[in-house]
Symmetry: C2
Subunit: 339 residues, 2 copies
Amino acid sequence: MVTTTNAMKKLLNRVEDIVPESLAGLAKAHPDVVKIDAANNVVLRAGGPRRGKVALVSGGGSGHEPLHGGFVGLGMLDAACAGNVFTSPVPDQMEAATRAVDGGAGVLHIVKNYTGDVLNFQMAAELVAGEIEVASVVTNDDVAVQDSLYTAGRRGVGGTVLVEKIAGAHAEAGASLADVTATALRVNANVRSMGLALTSAIVPAAGTPTFELGDDEVEVGIGIHGEPGRRREKLSTVDEMADWLVEPIVSDLGIGRGDKVLAFVNGMGGTPLIELYVAFNSVARILEGKGIGIARSLVGSYITSLEMAGFSVTLLKLDDELVRWWDAPVHTPALRWGV
Amino acid sequence: MVTTTNAMKKLLNRVEDIVPESLAGLAKAHPDVVKIDAANNVVLRAGGPRRGKVALVSGGGSGHEPLHGGFVGLGMLDAACAGNVFTSPVPDQMEAATRAVDGGAGVLHIVKNYTGDVLNFQMAAELVAGEIEVASVVTNDDVAVQDSLYTAGRRGVGGTVLVEKIAGAHAEAGASLADVTATALRVNANVRSMGLALTSAIVPAAGTPTFELGDDEVEVGIGIHGEPGRRREKLSTVDEMADWLVEPIVSDLGIGRGDKVLAFVNGMGGTPLIELYVAFNSVARILEGKGIGIARSLVGSYITSLEMAGFSVTLLKLDDELVRWWDAPVHTPALRWGV
């Protein structure tokens, strides 16, 4: 007998209960931070809507935890809508979230660029039109591919975490909907990502790996739902694999000597932290070689693809204002500092 | 072609460089918090020894990240010694760490109960005897087995994280070596853990899984190095599997209706967060049924076994003083709040 990932070995009761039970666990673990609208699978900031504060709503398919529910709380999101695994939430969920968090100053929808998410958030905005002012920012930071399974244009991936943190801090400071939206757009314009997979995830309802990959193969430019990337390569050193990700990002972002970045090395869910720090070391060495400074960093599994092994790199070109909002206090289940 | 965990697919350059490169990455990602003594593979709190503060030193084999290096910083450890993967650090490392952090108020060694770790920390204490006052607390919270591969008596596992946090807060507040030691002992006396594995880890130097487990099998009472547990079971619902862990803990700890605990659901490295929150929900339901209150919680992969899939449960019986030290500010790579 051997251990294989082809067998679905997960911590769950019934497959159809994994999302509501995970949300219930989130609320029980962090009752001071979040509560759950169980009828809609929406994670809400504890304490009700903040009068006069722009509210931030995001959401998407489950399976990318802590994104998005783990980012609800002070200085980040006011609500997150959880779809089924790798499936967009429906407009009713987004409408319920938008109504629940509106404090009279408008609501910003932060939407990863996947066709279903974009369409459904648009419909939700239409459902509250005339009652609540809604703006929307679509994140599309993945440089791996133009158009993809589920997406027209670039996919929204790791940069979304940074958009949510930085726009959330600006909103917490009392900025207007127009200003918070402008900040979110500015982060999205200055952030790029790319990832690779060593293994596939297994969607619970499917029970088998989403894609097949040889024992010595890597999918370079993988999407967070297992969508195909740019190419397959033989497994290599992490130095070389980091190079496969950093080069397209740096090139696309147009950064070079003297620029400062936030460097985010993200685990896809099944890769342990010892390896993520090895990968961060590789990324840091490559950036040092280019004269690009790492002013801030984030290392961990923050936007995942179930138990997929692999990592992604996200670079955000920083300026003083973005650093200030990044450093501002945040208190969510998954990101916390300053409070 | 199929994806299997039998093939070693890791983010590394040379196998022998994984520990120093991971430590280098840790320091590059968190230069405000930690620095590395690269000659000794020791993680040190940035800014040098704190005059008059009791210093806390821990360490052990690598492969359990973020334990221990990720817990170095304000309000927790002053140094962590990193051995090779699943291999005890040597006394020279522990001596170097002890000398580097001594601020004149004594040093507490926090040692997980594995024969090599215990012996080597003892030797390190002898090497500085007459120069630095050293106390030692051996954690042994794993209720799964008495004696085990690598261990006489119970193994030290998840409770170690709580000992480091709580004793670290007491030391940060200026307590004496005797008082910090007493607090560490009190946490260890009131904490119990047990874990299970869905898959094996692969030690890089070995290149193959540490143990074999059928596609429908679970090792109940697993150690963090893949040591055998109590028994093998068929994979079951997370509700039932959580029960296999919680019952022995509650029984051994002797807690019941009206007691308050810190509930810690820990991922073994390869299990994604969506599943850990499902598991937390199961644990919370079981405790609710017993009238045991969850006053504090921790959910995430904090003491891991490389890419092993599975989880452990740790319960700490709380009193007001332990809650106060748990809530105190902490700023390390892996745990941060209040600052």
